[in-house]
Structure formats: structure tokens, C-alpha cells
Amino acid sequence: MLFTIFAILTVAGAVAAFSLRNLIHSVLAITVAFAGLAVVYLLLGAQFIGLAQILVYVGAVVILIVFAVLLTKNSSTPAGPILSSSWLASGAIALAVFAVMAWAIHQSPASRIHTPTQPEATMQQIGSALMLRYALPLEIVGLLLTTALIGAVTIAVREQKEQR
């Protein structure tokens, strides 16, 4: 029951984000969708992922997007149409993708599995798994994040130097 309510909230936020005209309103709507998804993770018993979702998406990614909206002037309230020129074909492709996925979920024997017990994922278990079994992937993700952030700064700053 609770799952249904937050699923509807998440989908409504996502739909509102792509149908609203003002970009700032879109960002607020997508924040609702991200927060709703975080609650769904908490309901599924993945506390750490739910909190990470709030920290990373609601905290960091949305702020980054707001900065991008504010730095690209006159994009927050577009004058022309908000849909791209090929919107009809795009919508048809998206609907076809959903039809295929819904059919696959309906047909799959995996979606009829019932596991009554709630699995545990305590912070201690996640921490020891990250430090022991998944230590190498963790290091690689750290390296990737450092490289990506340096790259992002380089891409965003370079233009100004050339103009001088």
C-alpha cells in the first residue's frame, strides 16, 4: 500500500518534470521523483541506498542541474516550443520500449517469485563488503570520480581562457 503511494508520487514527479515549461519547475518536480524513489528504496529494506540517493541525487545532482540552468541564461523560460522537432517519432519509440518491457515482465517466471523474509543489509555488512571483496571496484570508482570532476572543470573553464 505504502509502496503504491510512493510509486505514484515518483511517477507523477517524473511526468511533471518533462511536461512543465519552466526549467526551474522541472528541476523541482524531478527532485520530488528522486525523493520518492529514495523512500521506495527504504521500503525495500535498502537503507544505505535510500540515504545515498537522498545525499547524491537530492543533495548534489539537483544542485548541479540548478547551477547549469542558472548559468545558461534564457533557457529557464523558453520562448519557442519545448519539444524537439522529432517528438512524434521519439514518443512512439518510448511507447514501444515500454510495451516490450511490460510484456517481458508479465511473461517472465522471475516476477512470480515470493520471498517472505526481509533480507538484511546493515551498514557493517556493506562496509566490510566494500573494504574486502569489493575493494578494487571501490578504488576504481574513486579514481573515476576524481578524473571526471577534473575533466568537468577543464571542459567548463577552457573557453574563457581562449577568449582573453
Binding site: 518533462f18 524513489l37 525495500l44 541525487y57 547549469a68 508479465h106
Partner: protein, 103 residues
């Protein structure tokens, strides 16, 4: 409908909304938001299969979701830097106007 099927349907719906938004909107920032939503739908699938799968004690789904969130954060930073750089070039964040790869 079992809980797993409900989770998978919610993820499929979110993926479709993200795909439709990324393909249909004109603004490059909205395209990036669509991609983020698609990544979130994939994360929901990882968590759903961890919760209702046969071996939840292995924590594979949870750890995959953690790494996926990390990669998505890196992707968002680079994507937004590219949009800002593009805006400086063209004075517009409209993807219909980006017709050449030449700087």
C-alpha cells in the same frame, strides 16, 4: 501482482518517462535529467532483484547500486560541464541547433 513485478513495472515506467523526456525535449539540460532518470530506474531494478532474489546475503545488488550511483554522479558533472561549454559556443542550450561537431 507480486511485489517484484510491481517494482519492475515501476522501473520500466520510470525508464520510459526518462527515455521519452530525453528524446522529446529541446533543452539539453532536460535531456540530461532524462538520462539520470533512466539510471535511477536501473538502480531500482538492482535493488528489487536483491530484495526478492534467491541470495540476498551476498549483497550484490546493493553494492552494484552504490557503484552505479557513483558513476551517475560523475556522468552528471561531465554532462553539465559539456552543456555549459556548448552554451558558451552557441549562446543556446537547444539541441536542435547543435548540427555540427566542429568547434
Amino acid at each position: 501482482m507480486t511485489p517484484l513485478a510491481g517494482c519492475l513495472l515501476l522501473a520500466a515506467l520510470l525508464f520510459t518517462i526518462g527515455l521519452a523526456g530525453a528524446l522529446m525535449r529541446r533543452n539539453a539540460i532536460m535531456v540530461l535529467i532524462g538520462i539520470e532518470l533512466m539510471l535511477n530506474a536501473a538502480n531500482l531494478n538492482f535493488i528489487a532483484f536483491w530484495r526478492y532474489g534467491p541470495h540476498p546475503e551476498a549483497l550484490t545488488g546493493v553494492l552494484f547500486a552504490i557503484f552505479s550511483i557513483g558513476v551517475a554522479a560523475a556522468e552528471a558533472a561531465v554532462g553539465l560541464a559539456l552543456i555549459i561549454s556548448l552554451y558558451r559556443h552557441l549562446k543556446s542550450a537547444n539541441i536542435d541547433e547543435v548540427t555540427s561537431m566542429h568547434g
